[in-house]
Symmetry: C2
């Protein structure tokens, strides 16, 4: 799933160039890293990318090894449930017993081997168990930016990796709650990764979101009747309800299980998250490109080749320069970028910077 | 006097493009505004600009009405005393009774008529009185960035403008002292403008800085012998001692008088000074070019056409974008730019940004 509006890493990310198309963490577009991370486990000809139609060309450029027809543009954004249902439909049509992994295109995962080990165990298990498996990330710190899930009873094990019933999903907690989750040890980050047989996921949609299931049935018929996928999507997708897969299915279905991730994971949801993936200087500054800092601490400063960003006497700021726009904000307010971008959009001609 | 190293308004100002060549305040280079402000009082053919040799071409471009030979490059910077002595020499050679005004090329003065009225009175008085006249600026606020002078007894009047003996010059004060000066009413800002007969100034140099006077006598002889001014300057100027006109003469001579300025004056010594010459928005932000601010107060934000500077949630910052360098610093630390620029210079290849 390569969605996103390009807001959280503005001005590097834009509507036409969201985070998954940028090397925010790592040295190539994050969607390309996501595909590369599957190497040896899932061949490119079995990878599908669901994205916005306006990003089709860019994704095809970033992922040339994926068959172009499997890079699929949603005519309109409808959140993750329709995307998941579409994935289930396409995989089930290809193989009625097919197992799928739903992955975000823009997560940072450094331990690719551990990732494949975990995913492989989940694939093996999902092929025979009627569960939707999530991947839970044992928290590394008391994050307040992620949803959590509480692990229930152990249900099984595969390749020495245990899996558990999910007792419940919980929203992003406040700091004390996050600290309690960390201390209790049975709360894991909900990474939004799911592994399941396509047919199991389709059954869940039929049960909990019948209108979405009906839309998918319509799509299925149109494909049977010979429509191309883009034509069928254009007819059906706009009529679907916008809803997240968590809300539509995961928080409702009883057959949700979780594998503990044997790897690191980071959603990298905003500029300050970079600090977790970069080497800071002695006073906590993370810099890229040309940057000079004087008596300045704990800043994130992104210049570019040939353009110097010079910072004096400030702490805890994000400063990002791009050829046509520069951002300055405190790290603590980076999650409010959307509000700033509304003001940018409201400016005459401001849309050119979005 | 068009000196300056281009540091205080970095990154807009550079070594090759100091403040007086920029429209920091106003809509044309400040040196051109300075010349224009004299219109009707001093014709361009009687204006001399003393500058660094590397800025000759730029000043000639900015001030096409001044005879090119009167735009004079100092081979090396030697502070204001040698420049003042050179000015006195050149004017006295042109007219033994000549009166000169020594003016900075980069001050902001909005009331040009009041400026000319004051200067005219000083010219008239200096033509017959053996004084070096300074122009004192009645303080508008308790500035700590300027030197002051204390007015002594009234010595005369011209065109209804009184002039006084200068009791003493004082260095930049601390805040409580500046407030006392403002309250006492007889302390004026030392604007570094001087009006005097050339011969009177030469006498002062002879008395208080004989080595400088000797250097000027050498220069005088070389010009008499037919050397061009650039050739003579190249021979003599590097041997002169670096010293300010205040320290060399003004603080020592007894014949220093002061006219009160009948006009506004601002040295515009650093980015935060812009606030005094611009209209701020409702929450105190001064912006130029393309800028969007969200929940941000009392900032100075300088973008450019086509490049957006977007600021979220910060107060009291200076953010200046130029095509090849961007500055971020608190207003309160803008006077420390020099320290930052030392770090820039120390960076491999960093000199390109100075």
């Amino acid at each position: 799933m390569a969605g996103g509006r390009g807001e959280r890493f503005w001005p590097q990310s834009r509507q036409a160039r969201p985070k998954h198309l940028l090397p925010i963490v790592g040295d190539k577009p994050m969607v390309a890293q996501t595909v590369a991370r599957l190497a040896g486990l899932v061949q490119p000809e079995r990878v599908y990318v669901l994205t916005n139609v306006e990003h089709l060309a860019a994704i095809r450029g970033a992922c040339p090894e994926i068959p172009p027809a499997q890079i699929i543009g949603e005519p309109v954004g409808r959140d993750t449930a329709p995307a998941a249902a579409l994935a289930a439909l396409l995989i089930r049509r290809r193989d009625p017993q097919g197992v799928l992994a739903l992955l975000a295109a823009d997560s940072a995962i450094h331990d690719a081997a551990g990732f494949r080990t975990t995913l492989s165990a989940a694939f093996t298990t999902a092929a025979k168990e009627d569960y939707i498996f999530t991947i839970g990330i044992p928290p590394a710190y008391p994050a307040i930016a992620y949803g959590y899930l509480r692990r229930g009873e152990k249900l099984g094990e595969c390749a020495e990796l245990p899996w558990f019933k999910v007792a419940k999903f919980v929203e992003k907690p406040d700091r004390p709650t996050a600290e309690r989750y960390l201390a209790e040890g049975n709360y894991w980050w909900n990474a939004g990764m799911f592994v399941t047989r396509a047919s199991v996921l389709e059954s869940a949609f039929t049960k909990f979101t019948p209108s979405l299931a009906a839309g998918m049935a319509d799509l299925d018929s149109r494909l049977d009747a010979g429509d191309t996928l883009p034509v069928a999507l254009a007819a059906v997708y706009p009529g679907l309800t916008k809803i997240s897969v968590d809300y539509a299915v995961m928080e409702k279905a009883a057959n949700i299980a979780v594998f503990a991730a044997a790897f690191d994971w980071d959603d990298v949801g905003e500029w300050p998250a970079l600090v977790r993936h970069a080497t800071a200087d002695a006073v906590g500054n993370v810099t890229r490109g040309e940057a000079v800092l004087h008596e300045a601490r704990n800043n994130i400063v992104i210049g570019e080749p040939g353009h110097l960003v010079a910072v004096l006497g400030v702490d805890d700021l994000v400063v990002v320069h791009t050829p046509d726009a520069t951002l300055v904000c405190p790290k603590s307010r980076a999650q409010e970028l959307k509000k700033l971008l509304k003001d940018v959009e409201a400016r005459p001609g401001g849309a050119r910077w979005l």
